[in-house]
């Protein structure tokens, strides 16, 4: 299995979820993260002091999929998350050595 890990815009999350569902991917894990890619930083001010915040909120969507379905998942995410502007995000596909279902303890392939 592979863990398809996508960093996307939070406002596209609903679309990505829908697109994954449409392809039959139900299980997923979502984390609120902050990130930066090509986007420039922004300087913040705290009572006259300055702090730099260049990390905008993003959503990390993780979907464990069988090896043969990685492309399908990538395509579903890409088309649903895309706005065409900088900041649309990245997908990292991580290899999974083993997957276990906690409820049963059984190994999933």
């Amino acid at each position: 299995m592979h863990l398809v890990t996508a960093i996307i815009r939070p406002e596209r999350l609903d679309f990505v979820k829908k697109a994954l569902e449409d392809q039959g991917f139900y299980g997923m894990t979502i984390t609120e993260v902050r990130g930066r890619g090509e986007q420039k930083g922004i300087a913040l001010q705290f009572r006259g002091g300055t702090m730099s915040v260049d990390m905008l909120p993003k959503c990390r969507v993780e979907v464990a999929v069988a090896d043969g379905l990685v492309d399908t998942a990538i395509q579903a995410i890409c088309s649903a998350a895309r706005t065409g502007k900088v900041g649309d995000g990245k997908i990292f596909v991580l290899p999974i050595a083993r997957t276990v279902r906690v409820r049963t303890g059984e190994e999933i392939l």
Partner: protein, 400 residues
Amino acid sequence: MALDTGATAWILASTALVMLMTPGVGFFYGGMVRRKNLISMIALSFIAFALASVQWVVAGYSLSFGPDIGGLIGGLDFLGLSGIGMDAGEGTYPPILFVMWQLVFATVALAILTSAVAERVKLSSFLVLGLLWTTLVYDPLAHWAWGGGWAMSLGALDFAGGTVVHISSGFGALALALVIGKRVGYGEHSFEPTSIPITLLGAGLLWFGWFGFNSGSALAADGLAANAFLVTNTAAAIGALTWLAASWIHGKPSSLGFVSGGIAGLVAITPAAGYVGVPASLAIGAVAGLLCYGCMLLRLRVGFDESLDAWAIHGMGGLWGALATGIFASTAINDYPGLLEGSTTQFVNNLLGAVAAVVWAFGVTFVIAWVIKQTMGLRVTEEEEYVGLDIAQHGERAIT
């Protein structure tokens, strides 16, 4: 008559209560916007408060309560509050207290208006807009209804500001939202409220402060003030329960709906609080809860991004309240009979006062907003809107 320290004490306390409504509005709306605009939304109310405060002591009070000019506006005799005394003289409370008392009404009206530009307004533009709005929309309406203007002469009743505060800000918000346009992405993806508990806090402060708003409007510590207090609470309670019930039928009864109904009830009883009794307040509040809920559904169906619903709740609730005052006003409470006691005149007067306020608030706000839009611009850039106003306008973040 002479200084009544009890009345003065209650007006002082009520003024403080009403003042708290302005932060209350900030938290109420703040909880409903996205996290990236939470600070901005709260700050807009605070800024509205300071802005209208200064305008009021400089010119606003005079425009509203200066010697009447043609029924339309007050003269500039009290500019900078010159000539406003600390001595009650023939009155029961100090004239200077009346200035402060009326001030907090002007501020809360402007705070409500901020909802229309939520998550997209340029701060500098809001400062200009706010100054113009309080001067050109609020002050004339205050003069008409309370400062010796035509509506007051006509006999239109507005006990605590259903027309002056709520119709003005509600229909002003409608115009403003039309001019500024919807938020980027509205209608495409969902906008999750950042924190319902913050909204509930705001609602709690509003409900609390509203007792000053309505009961203090008796400008006395007497039975009328007490009655206003009780009918205010009753209308709010039943409004909250009816909205809860109505929204339950449509799905889950949200706490946001519940407090929205409460505020609808509070708005609607505002003009009536000194003229009606408890049974009428049950009717007024219940109708307000249902009506404003319906107006919100209508707005949603139309897909119009006046999403904090100042129009649905304050505008339409205020309009209903103005009419309801004309209907339910009772001589058992005050000197004025309403439609139910056979006085068509009262109802018509109130109708006229309310319709004129709707037209003025909508029209003038529209023009002000349009002019600002054409000149300095009303909105932040699309990029700033994306980043959020907290960072873009204030350099701050709500959650680290």
